[in-house]
């Protein structure tokens, strides 16, 4: 079993940028937000986001389909929607598979 490690957050990413690069804490956090903001904007505009060595965030358009309320069993239409999936790069897959 793999040892359990905590959850990495924005604050941790900013802290590492601050420590490794000497940008201020505020500036480091701003950069973390900026990276996420740029990726969100591109995806919201319908663009896929591809980060070489890491992976791709890929948009998929789902058609309408019939779903069921699991509690009542009543059939309800599930509206067509756009979803986002993550495809890890081969490199990331290997790193994760090999621990």
């Amino acid at each position: 079993m793999m040892r359990s490690v905590g959850t990495l957050t924005r604050a941790d990413l900013a802290e590492t940028i601050n420590r490794k690069m000497g940008l201020s804490r505020a500036e480091s956090l701003d950069m973390v937000e900026a990276i996420l903001g740029k990726m969100c904007d591109a995806l919201a505009d319908g663009e896929n986001v591809k980060i070489s060595g890491f992976g791709s965030f890929v948009l998929r358009d789902k058609k309408e389909r019939v779903g069921r309320n699991p509690k009542t069993g009543v059939e309800v239409p599930i509206t067509p929607r756009r979803v986002m999936t993550f495809r890890a790069s081969q490199l990331l897959k290997e790193r994760i598979a090999n621990g």
Binding site: D12, I17, I35, L36, C40, I96
Partner: protein, 93 residues
């Protein structure tokens, strides 16, 4: 959008940073996420989504070309769940 476009866009918004610094920030960002996932940890970026890993059991696979049975070993695979805000943003027109 690809990595170089992300770098250019960030550099434009941050004229106080050199291009190499912007690149280093972006490298640290993705490297820290990759590192945490390879340690079996989880990454939660509210609004965007959460990265985690899942165990896949060993299974018998088939070489699609030869039809030969092969053992696929158990392994850990990456998993991503988009955040609520992200899912909403993708769908409001």
């Amino acid at each position: 959008m690809i990595r170089s476009e992300l770098l250019n866009s960030l550099a434009q918004d941050n004229p106080d940073l050199r291009a190499e610094e912007v690149e280093q920030v972006v490298d640290i960002f993705f490297e820290e996420i990759a590192q945490r996932l390879s340690e079996g940890g989880r990454v939660e970026l509210r609004g965007f989504g959460a990265f985690s890993t899942r165990e896949r059991e060993a299974r018998k696979g088939r070489n699609p070309r030869t039809g030969e049975t092969v053992d696929v070993p158990a392994k850990r695979v990456p998993y991503f769940k988009p955040g609520k805000d992200m899912r909403r943003r993708l769908n409001d027109d």
